[in-house]
Amino acid sequence: MNTLKHSIKQVGQRCLPPSVHHQFGDYLGYIRQAPRRHSSRFQFYRDFLSYRHQRRFSLPAEDPAQPQVAAAEQFARLLHWFKPSPLETEYFYPLDDHLIFIQPPHCTSIASLSPDYTEVFHLNLEDLRPRDPQTPFARSMDITIRSVLHLIEKVAAHLERQGTARSRQVADYLRRLPSSPPASFDEALQKILFYNGLLWQNRYLHNGLGRLDLVLAPYYDADIRANRITHAEAKEMLKAFIRQLGAHTRFKSIKLIGDTGQVIMLGGRTPESDSFEHDLTFLFLEVFQELNIPDPKCILRVGAHTSDNLWLAAASCMATGCGSPLLVNEDLVIPLMQEHGYSPEDSLQAAIGACWEPYVIGKSFDQTNISPALFPLLVFTDLLRQLPNEPIPDFPSFLRRYEEQLKKSLPPSRQTVDFTPAPLLSLLFPDCHTRQKDISEEGTRYNFHGRQVVGLPNTINALLNIKQLVYDTPRFTLPELADILETNFEGREDVRQLAQRSPLQFGSTHPDVLMLTQQIMQMLTRVTEHHTINGHKARMGFASSRYVDSAESIPASLDGRKASAPVAAHIIPLSPDIDIAEALDFGGSLTYNTTWLNGNVVDFIIPPSFLADLPALAKILKHGIHRGAYEVQLNVLSHEQLLDARAHPEKYPNLIIRVWGFSAYFCDLPVAYQDEFIRRTAPSCLCP
């Protein structure tokens, strides 16, 4: 396989100019890491060859004078190549996964945004087209709008020629699309899919859909009132819509298959109502429950106002194990957003970005997972190395030394990131037109970027162990522990076991655990207080993804974790003795300030037997949120089932896992992630 990887890399280098081959390499890297379902070597080679012979790459201009204009021209070129095919599904979706948009080098891709489709519905492309495009922004808009209009004409003509009733109807929808709001629920769905497909075609990542129950409600209500559709017909339309979004999961995924960030927000407050719970809110949940597919995903905004009926609908959907919905406590998140700098009115339009990160639909350019992430576990390595010369007398002193070292290990406090110009996204964000600026140049009003913190639960367990083993009931000195870590617990498995089995574990509501966790959260708040990304206060959270591959470079740690082993992600209890009640209590006991805005999800695995009483599950989740949990996501898995799925993948083609902020088929996951879930569900789950 190494030879194969090498040859793939070489092909990438030969096929593409040096400035872009690394993106191509990323793309191939993704194929390597995420073999398709039930993959065989034959399929792997077939995929690889298809990249060489069937794909067409739209390359960025070399050193463009006007990057926005170059980006618009690149997009226009891609749409020019777009060949309409006959309509085989209910809706037209402008995404050809053989056309690959290559991002310009040295720029960071844009991800995890959502246009406000209520506003998009009323966009008039002709009106927005600049009369005299002089500025780079105006020129980029002109090129983008012309290319979209050209595509619409091309596709509509093709669909008319196809001649079926549905293709003619969709052609009619497309012709109305540039200048008229939808006239029906069906047309509204088509319009969303049209723009969403274009965003993916242009290689923006993690494209959110926004609050679709709220956005679609007027069209649904009007059609139902006028007897143009029935509830059942609307449901079928939604199913076709969801299937369409989920039809290109592989193309849309970033790191692992399923990591698409296609978020549909449901429920929550509006300026007019304390709780938006519409027929469509329930209908979406029913559709997710019935389709039971991992992509797209839905997220439900909940709070004190949420009705018991909606809690039950949410629990019933979660019980299918599809990973949806993630629950977001808007009573906690929205006030924090306001404190962070979002206006009260805008914060009501909160959505979740890639995984758990709140932002404002249609008004945020919040890039919430910008590298580099923070790795508080790495601090121990440097700190413990310095110890033989300087004994540390007590645990508070140790914490102070840890904080000093943490401060030194952080990336520069002022981080600047260049983002890829994004004319198509700018077209869909009204702020960009008002400011006449591309979204990548802060065309929108909110630009609060953030970072992940990797391995925080392990850090807290390591500190708890140092407190216990070195200071409270001294059994080791710090230099002794440093040596044990240095040798990756070689010859000291007893210490590793001791560290793993401490009764004080992250996720427990023991006062010592809660106090230390709060202390570390405050410490991270202090040391990053002046950290900015592009001039705006950086945010972070307990939620971190990629807990397997990002841990490969982390040495052994005093939570009993061996070098390179996966770290814990999110608020996941690290002991089998911590049940869902305690995990929810723990998540609800932490104090989240604005630094911790980026997502703090309680992630729990419940066994299938838990699902016999869905009303009870609904109430447990409801009270967990009422008691202050920030976000909650569930997996429904059993250890035996996962072991069997690993041995006989053909028996479990539809077994879904909530991996981090996304769900995927178990059989699609790399072996390291499969192993991690098998370990987590084990009756006496311990760190590897």
Partner: protein, 286 residues
């Protein structure tokens, strides 16, 4: 005053109405061979020894375990630096128990649930429990007791005024197997049943279904006859499960390999009982 707490389990769905927190207490007058909480039977807490957690099982270097007699001696060690040995229960102060139980007060109210005391036999701790029950009643918490009916009859009046619901486990699969640490009068069950009947608490009967006993000729008929003699109340049938098998191993107690009837047999027996009573009969699946 402290209570010998085996464990406190939140979010229980089968220990009375609604969502409940169940408190398992140490000590029982019976020693049923199918007991799912064998660690709660002796009055003095036994120790669990989890061999899987023993470094000898992992076969690794362990300077911390130098001097441990296991596995050479064959006997379970009394202590373990790595936590492979731990007592089945420990005394917990009433205030701490109350604080723990009140965590889910809102959830109890919302689900018509509450707190259930089980064990072991919770009535064995009547005097120690009474202040806790008073406090729970003051907070308006629904209180249930899961009991076998085998405990000194003088204990019943101490607690019954505070109990809203009684889950009476009918130990009728065999003749009762007694814990020799506790002596009881011969008609203890009848005496306690009479006390339960005059109490204001609602009653549910529970019967564990074990194939080996049910298949004994005449057993079903005698069970049905005895059930008919009871005052009418809902009946819950609990097929035997083997969730406690590892606990027997860790306690060093022989595990009796009994089994549940087939699902169809469970349903058939459930239907037979339904013909005898107007009260609800429910077959639980744990």
């Amino acid at each position: 005053m402290s209570l010998p707490i085996v464990r406190i389990q939140r979010h229980c769905l089968h220990d009375g109405p609604g969502i409940r927190t169940t408190v398992f207490l140490q000590g029982c007058a019976l020693a049923c061979p199918w007991c799912s909480n064998p660690e709660a039977i002796p009055l003095t807490p036994p120790a669990f020894f989890d061999e899987q957690k023993c470094i000898a099982h992992i076969q690794a270097d362990a300077p911390l375990c130098a001097g441990c007699p296991f596995p050479e001696s064959g006997a379970a060690p009394r202590t373990c630096p790595l936590g492979a040995v731990h007592p089945a229960s420990s005394p917990v102060e009433q205030d701490a128990v109350l604080q723990h139980l009140m965590k889910d007060a809102a959830l109890y109210r919302d689900s018509n649930g509450g707190v259930t005391f089980s064990g072991g036999e919770p009535f064995l701790h009547a005097r120690a429990l009474r202040p806790l029950l008073e406090a729970l009643r003051e907070e308006g918490i629904h209180i249930a007791f899961e009991t076998s009916g085998f405990f000194p009859p003088e204990q019943a009046p101490i607690l019954l005024p505070f109990i809203n619901h009684l889950l009476l486990d009918l130990k009728w699969m065999t003749t009762p197997v007694f814990n020799p640490e506790i002596s009881l009068p011969p008609d203890v069950f009848e005496q306690n049943l009479a006390a339960f009947q005059v109490a204001a608490a609602e009653m549910t009967y529970r019967l564990v279904l074990i194939r080996e006993f049910l298949d004994v000729p005449g057993k079903r008929e005698s069970l049905l006859a005895r059930l008919q003699e009871l005052p009418p109340a809902p009946i819950e049938l609990l097929p035997l499960h083997h969730l406690a098998e590892s606990k027997y191993r860790q306690l060093g107690i022989p595990f009796t390999p009994l089994s549940a009837p087939t699902r169809s047999d469970q349903k058939a027996f459930c239907s037979q009982i339904k013909t005898l009573t107007d009260a609800p009969v429910r077959l639980l699946r744990l």
